[in-house]
Symmetry: C2
Subunit: 163 residues, 2 copies
């Protein structure tokens, strides 16, 4: 993946799509820790479509800031497809945007909640539906974070371009 | 600055200080767009002290998510020392942490709210007081963002180490 996905090309595609169509965007991040919103705001003019993001690194922040239900986290874990989807939906609701992108995962080292290292879920909430994706990344922590952020943006592009 | 401040050294110092002293931390970012929280969560174990962050890129997000008063933005602008200090105080309150770090500025290109390109304010809210700093950066947009994020972390270190 790292050899074939060019960061600047992905960021440029998001920028063209959202500014061109007058769509708005927000984010909710756990494992990527702010890197998705950093990427989304790299280009000047991003303020036209990017409203804001939440870095809900702790479960407490997921519950307090985003309004994720504690029972969802208890049942499925914070590293789960259900959590990623709920994070995207709540960010979209809170920031009143057309789309929201979310990430949660275990970038390593070691296991987390019994979830394997490199396991990442990303989700995109749009006006019509929520899409999500599961992946297992094999790099080191920083490589995994960059890859997870870019894969989340690719899911956003797939969803918004077909929406 | 870029030649003398080592990113990993700054991140390592924050990690040692906050994990060593059992302190908690949150962030509120405008111009750095998530890069501060990305830096704060690069090292494994950051979840022990970093609770979460808000990327309030739009004025609407500053008002809706952080609870910044619209009249503060109207009087001083979102790129102001007053806004930076209010962002740090509100993040600390919302996430119930010992410290919070905030950034707001105009990274360029062009002017913003009539504020010069490269003008950045960062602020740190701690248990005792709020400290803030004004700077004018001279790099390109991406260089300015990295420099602003690191200077915010240096202000955090100065404040927390003496606190």
């Amino acid at each position: 993946m790292r050899e074939t996905v060019d960061r600047n090309a992905v960021i440029g595609r998001v920028h063209a799509l959202f500014s061109g169509r007058g769509l708005t965007l927000s984010s909710a991040e756990s494992c990527t820790g702010g890197l998705v919103s950093h990427y989304l705001t790299l280009l000047p003019g991003a303020s036209v479509y990017f409203r804001g993001g939440l870095v809900t690194y702790s479960n407490n922040a997921k519950i307090r800031l985003l309004g994720i239900s504690p029972s969802l986290i208890e049942s499925h874990g914070a590293v789960s497809e259900e959590a990623a989807r709920a994070m995207a939906e709540e960010a979209r609701r809170l920031l009143q945007t057309d789309y929201a992108v979310a990430t949660t995962g275990n970038l390593g080292p070691g296991t987390l909640e019994g979830k394997e290292r490199g396991l990442v879920y990303c989700a995109v909430s749009g006006r019509e539906a929520v899409s999500s994706k599961r992946m297992v990344l094999t790099g080191n922590r920083e490589e995994n974070r960059e890859e997870a952020a870019l894969l989340a943006l690719l899911l956003l592009l797939d969803t918004a371009e077909s929406g």
